[in-house]
């Protein structure tokens, strides 16, 4: 009946979604390796409106209309976070700036080729194995060592080495006694090779990653390749990668979402007022 009422309602729902996403970003300012999320909104498909025909005449076309809006996807900005030195030998951070064909990536990690093709910057991740034996990817490098010597995340997922096996430190050695080389091998302080090498995976389009919680991502389609020497990726021991949430942007976005929600609420009220007039005043007798 009154289409705008439904548009305003869809606006309320979408702004609520935006607000939720921003709150989640704020909740993860201190989460190591967290990647900020954003919720792009999209309008509904275009519809062609036409007036129904009167007395056998053909119907008249009015034009197209895209009435409603919805939160389309939950998009993650897989951008590099700042590194902080912790001096904790269990902490690892990835610094990644993988180049693709001389393209210059903008601040959202995107570049457009001359033929109009959009390319996202590939990113590097620690490779994990969860309890079900499936591969997961993370940028959160605060690891711990179980009493059996396995290198795990804080939620118990195994960190994989280049041999695709969970990394197990030799008995009697701790991460304190091991040094990470520039090619990501773990060697003892005297330079002896332990045969362990961190598996860092390169994901060409990070948007294919699905967030799972606990800092982990799952790859929906495509495969992850181990990084090669040509990729500009560095892993540092004793550092953590901070969350890449932009606090200022988050607080501004939150205000904007709250006000947009309010505006939609007002519109609902105006329509309500119109309906009230229609129902109670226009039709009133006497």
């Amino acid at each position: 009946m009154i289409r705008g009422l439904y548009s305003a309602a869809s606006g309320l729902i979408s702004q609520q979604r935006r607000h939720d996403t921003i709150t989640n970003n704020i909740a993860n300012i201190e989460t190591v390796g967290y990647k900020q999320n954003t919720t792009p909104l999209r309008s509904f498909n275009e519809m062609l409106l036409s007036m129904t025909g009167v007395d056998g005449q053909n119907s008249n076309k009015i034009g197209t209309w895209t009435g409603n809006v919805f939160a389309e996807e939950s998009l993650t900005y897989h951008l590099q976070g700042d590194l902080t030195e912790t001096n904790n030998r269990n902490d690892f951070a990835i610094l990644s700036n993988i180049a693709v064909d001389d393209l210059v990536f903008d601040q959202s990690g995107k570049a457009v080729r001359a033929n109009g093709e959009v390319v996202f910057q590939p990113q590097a991740y620690f490779t994990l194995q969860n309890a079900q034996g499936e591969a997961r990817y993370t940028r959160g490098g605060q690891f711990s060592v179980t009493s059996e010597g396995y290198l795990t995340t804080n939620t118990g997922d195994y960190v994989l080495g280049t041999n695709n096996e969970p990394i197990q430190l030799p008995a009697g050695t701790s991460l304190d006694g091991l040094v990470l080389t520039s090619d990501r091998r773990l060697v003892t302080s005297t330079g002896e090779d332990t045969g362990l090498q961190l598996l860092i995976s390169r994901i060409d389009n990070p948007n294919d990653l699905i967030r799972e919680g606990d800092g982990n991502f799952r790859l929906a389609e495509g495969t992850a390749e181990p990084i090669t020497e040509d990729d500009a990726v560095e892993v540092r021991q004793g550092y953590i990668e901070n969350s890449n949430v932009d606090v200022l942007q988050a607080s501004v976005d939150m205000m904007a979402a709250a006000r947009a929600y309010e505006a939609n609420q007002k519109i609902v009220q105006y329509y309500d007022g119109t309906l009230q007039k229609t129902a109670n005043e226009i039709g009133r007798v006497g």
């Binding site: 989640n24 704020i26 201190e30 009493s147 939620t155």
Partner: protein, 277 residues
């Protein structure tokens, strides 16, 4: 609808925990051998809303489905085992360990072992009227005695303590005569995550973990760069500047989360007032 609120609440809880840890660190700035702690955050489980095929349209960047996280939580507490500064006290029973190692002490008559970095030892009199080297709280320091057995160090009457860098303990009397009293046991925390902090500045092996895997007994030498310093104490490794900076950061994060909470409260109020008459 109120997911914003739940997220803000979750994160305020974890930020509060981080603040608690910081204040605990600051409170222990002058505790001998204290190791500073920090919180490890993870983002909470994500829920995935299914979207039908029709949602896959031009310009969409991610696979189908709309996922949202539920805030953050503290999944662990990391202990920073780096060396604290050594302070000279001149007290003969004050010992400091240079390097990554812990003293071994017995906490009960059954010989249960615990570990500590706190070397402010004392001489206590035990049930047999012997002078024994113990921690501040009276737990005997475990040592390898000259005959090779394990036990506590008993100091004969009229002898003063002399402890060498490699942990060997001697009693020296007024005439300069020396007797060997044993060697103080030191362990290397090979799997620091298998140690849990208990009261009285002590660490014990976590339940379920194998003590032999978690700690390794070592003898200080120039190779492993571990040494015992008599007359020194290892101060707490809390860095006041870092703690204050962290406190400011987490306080701001808490503030922002509180703002998000009140903002989602406003949204709910608006929804309640949708019908204005």
């Amino acid at each position: 609808m109120n997911s914003s609120m739940i997220k803000a609440l979750n994160s305020m809880n974890s930020y509060q925990l981080k603040m608690d840890l910081i204040s605990n660190n600051v409170a222990n700035m002058n505790t001998v051998g204290y190791k500073s702690k920090s919180a490890v955050f993870e983002d909470l489980l994500t829920t995935m809303e299914q979207q039908p095929e029709g949602f896959s349209r031009d310009g969409r960047l991610t696979p189908l489905g709309f996922n949202q996280g539920w805030g953050s939580k503290v999944t662990g507490i990391a202990t920073d085992f780096t060396q604290g500064p050594l302070k000279e006290t001149g007290v003969l029973t004050d010992l400091a360990i240079e390097g990554n190692a812990l003293f071994e002490v017995t906490v009960d008559d059954a010989g249960t072992l615990a570990y500590t970095k706190d070397g402010s030892f004392q001489i206590s009199i035990n049930g047999n009227r012997e002078a024994v080297l113990t921690t501040n709280q009276g737990y005997p320091v475990q040592a390898t005695l000259p005959d090779g057995s394990q036990g506590s160090i008993i100091i004969p009457d009229g002898y003063a303590l002399k402890i060498e860098a490699d942990g060997n303990v001697y009693g020296v009397n007024e005439r300069g005569a020396q007797v060997s009293l044993g060697r103080i046991n030191l362990v290397n925390p090979v799997r620091p995550d298998g140690l849990v902090q208990v009261a009285d500045n002590l660490f014990s092996v976590a339940t379920g973990a194998n003590a032999n895997e978690v700690v390794n007994r070592i003898i200080p030498d120039s190779q492993n760069r571990i040494a015992i310093r008599q007359g020194f104490l290892e101060q707490s490794n809390v860095d006041y500047t870092k703690e204050m900076t962290d406190l400011m950061k987490v306080q701001r994060a808490y503030q922002l989360a509180a703002r998000a909470l009140s903002s989602s409260d406003t949204l709910m109020q608006l929804a309640n007032n949708l019908r204005n008459n």
